[in-house]
Symmetry: C2
Subunit: 135 residues, 2 copies
DNA sequence: ATTACTGTAATCTATTTAGTTACAGATTTG
DNA sequence: CAAATCTGTAACTAAATAGATTACAGTAAT
């Protein structure tokens, strides 16, 4: 995983704290200290995953699609990950070698089991729990 | 995590199967299908972590430093990871924002807990278990 | 009509990761 | 000791990925 999870958690935290208000991508970008376009791209992804809703035009912005108590941290993780957490970089091992021929398959199942443990852990807390950590 | 974990698991699997033989980086590179120098770099890291031993000169090579039953997959993970599994890319949030000021700290503890769950999972199997998966 | 937003494509830059070349040092073998 | 075969590393290049920027069309309020 990369910084996208962090950006999404930041966005969602701001939205949770602004309960019921439309928050602009410029405001969010100012808090994260990144470009507003990146924020909108990330929001676009969160919207596709059903976590937020947006409104265009003047006084527009974004808000949570559901209460923060109903968003698990694992939902955010699943929304932002690409590929696997462990090795994404895939080698092309030698098919003439007994180990090379099978290793990707075995690594895959190893990755999958480990990732399930990770997701189970992230599934034990919600966005609301995370927001409660802030002063 | 990146491809380094996969490369290290591949190396260690070959070493486990060649029990008691000095295996050359060229042979390993041929199985993984990458450059021998990359293999030696990775071996250098594994050696520093006490997982393998090497011998220079003619007929030299590398072998496991201890039985495959005594190497947990989590040891390999810990030997190859850099930074955290989840967000490595760190933003520099706005310190004037209450959320921006605290988020890195809260994300850190979230990451740490999740990573511990991952490591616990990887700690349940050994290199020997992994090697047994091969035909 | 103007202003303040979102949405997205296209492009550029920076960072990270992987691959390569080059060569010194170690050890065996003849 | 000389040749052959390895490791160990530094220095450099290339490729892949992530992040930033520009530009502009579309939408909604005033």
């Amino acid at each position: 995983m990369n910084g996208r999870f962090a950006i999404s958690m930041h966005i969602l935290t701001l939205l949770a704290k602004a309960k019921g208000e439309w928050v602009t991508s410029d405001f969010i970008a100012g808090s994260i200290n990144i470009n507003p376009v990146l924020v909108r791209k990330e929001i676009s992804n969160l919207r596709k995953k059903g976590l937020v809703v947006s409104r265009e035009g003047k006084n527009g912005g974004t808000m949570l699609a559901k209460p923060a108590t109903q968003v698990r941290v694992s939902d955010v993780f699943l929304a932002t990950r690409q590929g696997t957490v462990l090795g994404s970089a895939r080698n092309s091992p030698n098919p003439d070698c007994p180990v090379g021929r099978q290793i990707n398959r075995h690594l895959d199942s190893l990755y999958q089991e480990a990732e399930e443990a990770l997701i189970r852990n992230l599934g034990t807390s919600t966005l609301a729990d995370f927001v409660h950590r802030f002063d």
